[in-house]
Amino acid sequence: MNKHLLSINDLTAEDIVRILDVAESFREVGTRVIKKVPALRGRTVVNLFYENSTRTRISFELAAKRLSADVINFTTSGTSVAKGESLKDTARTLQAMGADAIVIRHSSSGAPHQLTRWVSGRVLNAGDGTHEHPTQALLDLYTIRDKLGRLEGLRAAIVGDVLHSRVARSLTFGLVKMGAEVTLVGPPTLIPPEAPQWGAQVSYDLDAVLPKLDVCYLLRVQRERQRQRFFPSVREYARRYGLTRERVAALPEGCLIMHPGPMNRGVEIDSDVADLPRSVIEEQVTNGIAVRMALLYLMLGGAGEGGGA
């Protein structure tokens, strides 16, 4: 594995299989009464979040704590960042404090990459701008493999605002790397023109895609972007691309319904659809902890410098 995890493309297909296999062991730890192992005792993991996030930060925090690492949460409000400190100076401060790994979320694409030039510890991208969110993709791959037994040859649709979605990019790269077929579905304004180069197909008609799917992955409608008028109205979006009861009926038996959260119930997914047994949205969250434990373990469990590169 690479020293840092900035993009799914830092990983080979073998790396991904290894991470998912190790995550399997960590899921067992999560079922114990004492959900903690001493594997990373004495290591320090910093959560550096420049954007609000509840689930990803908590998931990383729990993952590190269950490995017995020390966790420092560094959020931007009420800290030196609010006083105008640059990313570089913050990075140097964390470096001086001896952080072994920095988990960063930032609104600018490429910020984690920049960070790698200033710190000697490992950097894990927890979402950067509209670029990538590799740990989300890995937990999605884990969930799909766990539920369907394989990744190769599966047919998945990723539906919604692909243009702004780092989740969609990472997951598409990951699924294609693992031999799955991906169709990106959404209004033409929200499908990036370079999408075919990702190895995915593109469709603007959700109903045509539904009957042959193994995985139906819904993206959050980012209402804050609605000001820029990528689609006429939220209601029209819901009518054309929302997963309703009727559309679920068109899905094959056993097709998974997934969502990275947080959901807009009634927009991209109907409320009762989100609660169907075939919707694995809560399992995605649970699996996220195990997958992040596996990543932290594999990245920090070795000797560091020179090792495992």
Binding site: S25, L40, L67, Y297, M299, L300, G302, A303
Partner: protein
Amino acid sequence: MRPGREREDEQHQPRPAATAVGRLPYPAGVRAVSATRIMDEEEIRRAVTRIAHEILERNHGAEHVALVGIAKRGDDLARRLAAEIERIEGVAPPVGVLDITFYRDDIGMRAEAPEVHETRIGFDLNDRVVVLVDDVLYTGRTIRAAMDALVDLGRPRAIQLAVLVDRGHRELPIRADSVGKNVPTRKDEIVRVCLREQDGEDAVYVEEPGGSA
């Protein structure tokens, strides 16, 4: 098969695939100059039978006993012991497998994170007499890690230790309750346990390490 235990921390390295009976495979870069067979199939079978009897004697039956094998070969030995105890006593003790990777004391000292196996203990450890089972007892560090792992999973009434081979060179104050065979070794020798389940034959070898191939 096991690439020896010339150091305790070698034990979770990926192993070469099992080979045909009677042929010795070697880890990459290591060539044994000579290999001496110190236990054959019959001797291993008798040792397992004796250890099963010792466990029953020490615990006055199998009622509270559970066997936990340390991944990977301890796992197979634990299942054989359980089958033997069932044959003798008519009661099969529960068997679990324990992976000690997350409890090792050398994490961060190796270039790569050690390989992870599965932990599967499908019974309640509380109030059980847990017999830890491993193939080779050497420095004792694996057993220290296994005890730490066990107490995180519950509070056994007692923990006992059964091993197929004790090769000496302890680095911690640990001893086994049952030993299949005591084998005096030099630290640079390799004790290789082969079990039918994984290696296609039952045998224990002591090997002289050769130079790099």
